[in-house]
Subunit: 198 residues, 2 copies
């Protein structure tokens, strides 16, 4: 009996290891998937880091408050109910603040986001939202409009920013899709009731 | 029949919204949980951002290569098999590179990590690992040793760094625990076979 338990434990442990290895490979391919889906390669997506400090170049905090306010005004007023409803559980002012604080920090300004909320943990923090390719494109559409309607953002910076946003949107999508797939307990164990795994 | 389908759809949608609202609240409390579990408040955890550029202050890239090499030497040689085995599916050189590139970028150096791997997405990328409170403490123990045995790291910076690491370790733990709980499909639907949700 003991030997049997040992065998079961060993087999289960081996299966768990195998699953961990798979997960790690999947996580490593996130960036590739994001590039493929978004059509933006890594170099272009992170050109925001190559240039001079974008936070300063674009005029500092007020520009980013304006950009995020303009963006979320469009999102919360969207005619498309399916898109608007993705956000209707969130407070608009908080959404604006989360976004501009993240952008300020990411683009070379003061670390406002981490001081208030810790690590961005982008994939995990987007998990509550129902993201799809269609939603990513609608998000990017509004962001393009917001960029075009915010002062102090020159054309070169606009291109850099939209590349960064496009790549990031698909990075999130890839991360969330992977997670949902991998954590579906039935995936690797057809015929076994998944609840026995917990 | 149609009316019934509408009712079911509406109820399911409301249930999904409710779950999303819960998830969002949980994600918002991550930082608080990390502070409570780690004993490090947010101000102390992110004091790494207050000071002058820590990357430059500590001597640049080589210091961080040394720190991460020293750290992973300890991890991969750990006497405690349960801890060592958390890492045995990963390549040691890659683990070293991922860590020092992240630190260099996070502490004010060139964005090596994002140029190669995209956003850090800390919680999602740690998902393949089997993290526990005990493992977090063992990780921190090795990191403290590595900090103490790497040149060019002054005592003040050591304290700032270990506070950052301690808070981050528990932030990851909180994020991963939440995820596993919330994504257990049976959690909110006892009696319903979870596979019908997919």
């Amino acid at each position: 009996m003991e030997a049997r338990i040992d065998r079961v434990t060993l087999r289960e442990r081996e299966r768990e290891r195998e699953r961990e290895r798979e997960l790690e490979k999947e996580m490593q391919s996130l960036q590739e998937k994001a590039s493929e889906w978004s059509g933006v390669d890594t170099g272009d997506a992170f050109a925001i880091d190559d240039d001079t400090n974008l936070f300063q170049k674009l005029g500092g905090l007020q520009t980013f408050i304006n950009l995020s306010t303009n963006f979320y005004n469009r999102v919360y007023d969207d005619d498309e109910e399916w898109f608007r409803s993705i956000f209707d559980k969130s407070d608009k002012d908080k959404a604006i603040q989360n976004q501009y604080e993240f952008l300020v920090q990411r683009l070379g300004g003061p670390p406002l986001y981490s001081q208030r909320r810790g690590h961005p943990a982008l994939i995990a923090r987007h998990r509550p939202f129902h993201l799809t390719h269609k939603a990513a494109e609608r998000w990017l559409h509004h962001m393009q409009q917001a960029l075009d309607n915010t002062s102090h953002i020159d054309d070169d910076s606009k291109i850099m920013l939209i590349n960064f946003f496009r790549h990031t949107a698909y990075f999130l999508l890839a991360g969330i899709e992977q997670k949902n797939q991998s954590l579906h307990p039935c995936k690797d164990a057809p015929g076994r009731h998944p609840c026995t795994n917990f």
